[in-house]
């Protein structure tokens, strides 16, 4: 018995090493499951405030560019507004009020993000206090950015579109054929469009937008432009490469969208035993 203990004691550093590696592997696995409660991430109070300060400093240098983008978007919004308020002498129809209230929008600022891994995340400066909820869609003026994964009091963490575990329901704008956008972990400006059948005529230059089927994003938010169409390894599906329209290396301000009728849709689909692939 004593000799066994002595033997184990002589191996103590190796045993400690194995134990710590197991802890690390447990953390990797626990952190990568989408439902896993992530305690230690950049949305906790201390890390959140440090990253906020860093982002404040960095943002100061990109103010001019951010302003330019805001001005452009203001212009587009004003144009849309004038279309909604036609002159009094023309004939207008009231929009269905239920449809108008389906989606609620919020804005937030990205205070930290990763780009170079296969599981990328963004940290936003809005949290539960500001009404951010798990599952909200994240996009900016260029296109889809991600989806909210965890929310703390003041901050929230979103899964980036550049995350191999993230699927976005999408469609080709011209032909209305729908599939899923999934990042393949290679280039930060390209993703794959999955589940497009072989018989569909897709060609480079076609625009890809959100389909609205997943009830996370409203229909028609841009995702990217088809770059190349290939036969694909699978007999049934095309291999489509999409150039993403948002530039993930310079994301500053984002919009959050919440589908106010998501619980109702969810429970209805659960009752009908339909599985919704987010």
């Amino acid at each position: 018995m004593l000799r066994i203990l002595q033997f184990l004691y002589s191996l103590r550093s190796f045993l400690l090493f194995v134990l710590l590696e197991l802890v690390a592997i447990w953390m990797i696995v626990a952190n990568n499951s989408p439902q896993g409660a992530a305690f230690f991430n950049s949305s906790t109070a201390v890390t959140g405030s440090i990253l906020q300060t860093q982002s404040d400093v960095v943002d100061f240098f990109s103010l001019a560019e951010a302003n330019q983008k805001l001005i452009e978007q203001n212009a587009a919004l004003m144009e849309a507004l004038t279309n909604l308020n036609p002159p009094t002498d023309s004939v207008t129809f009231e929009l269905d009020s239920a449809f108008a209230a389906t989606f609620k929008f919020k804005s937030a600022r990205v205070i930290s993000q990763t780009l170079r891994f296969s599981q990328n995340h963004l940290t936003l400066n809005k949290g539960a206090k500001d009404g951010v909820k798990v599952g909200m869609g994240v996009f900016n003026q260029d296109g889809v950015v991600g989806r909210i994964k965890t929310v703390s009091e003041n901050y929230s963490v979103a899964i980036s579109l550049l995350n191999t575990g993230m699927l976005v329901s999408s469609k080709i704008k011209t032909s209305e054929v729908f599939g899923s956008i999934n990042w393949d972990g290679r280039l930060a400006n390209e993703a794959k469009m999955l589940y497009i059948p072989r018989h569909v005529k897709a060609q480079a230059g076609d625009t890809v937008v959100t389909s609205g089927f997943s009830s996370i994003f409203p229909e028609g938010i841009p995702i990217g432009v088809i770059k190349a169409v290939g036969p694909g390894e699978n007999q049934n599906h095309l291999d489509i490469t999409v150039t993403l329209s948002s530039d993930f290396s310079s994301i500053n301000y984002v919009y959050l969208v919440e589908n106010t009728q998501l619980p109702e849709i969810d429970s209805l689909q659960q009752e009908a035993e339909v599985i919704n692939e987010y």
Binding site: L16, R116, G185
Partner: protein, 173 residues
């Protein structure tokens, strides 16, 4: 090991981690070369430290960096591996006559040739472990090797620069 040495070491560790998480987090030279300058902390711990504290320190440093990178566990696993391997590697490449008690494994004390054989394999091993875990099941082995190779070169060059600029020579010429 007096109190001044410990304080200056802690200060260096703090500054290096800060540089890592604030400046180098999204740096990727040509899309393949990442920089892990915080490894310099683990590499510069005096030779005389015993094995278990070294592993624990490596684990802690990796964990802190992980929290800020949102990659919980990846840096931790790779850094713990380096902390575990380091004493064996030091023993293998020990100069004739062994290490003096006060030896610090850094560039100024040991010279560029020894430092290259000491640091480069450890940094490369770290990068290899890091990218293997990160890209698990998604990219091919070539991508992992490519990224590890260039990342370890970048990290090594930066580690040399940091030491030339900021490490004080402890003895006279």
């Amino acid at each position: 090991m007096n109190i001044r040495v410990i304080i200056s070491f802690l200060l260096m560790a703090f500054v290096l981690i800060l540089v890592q998480i604030l400046l180098l987090k999204n740096l990727a030279l040509f899309g393949v070369a990442l920089c892990f300058i915080y490894l310099l902390i683990i590499l510069s711990i005096p030779v005389t430290i015993s094995h278990i504290p070294l592993i624990l320190i490596s684990f802690g440093i990796g964990f802190i960096v992980d929290i800020f990178y949102d990659t919980l566990g990846i840096h931790t696993a790779a850094a713990t591996l380096i902390g575990f391997i380091r004493p064996y590697w030091l023993k293998i490449i020990s100069p004739t006559g062994g290490y003096v008690d006060s030896t610090d494994p850094d560039l100024k004390e040991m010279g560029i040739g020894w430092y290259f054989t000491y640091a480069m394999p450890l940094i490369f091993l770290f990068s290899l472990a890091f990218f293997l875990i990160d890209q698990w099941g998604t990219a091919g082995l070539f991508g992992v090797l490519n990224k590890s190779f260039f990342s370890s070169i970048l990290t090594f060059v930066l580690a040399i620069l940091v030491q030339l600029l900021f490490f004080k020579r402890k003895r006279g010429i």
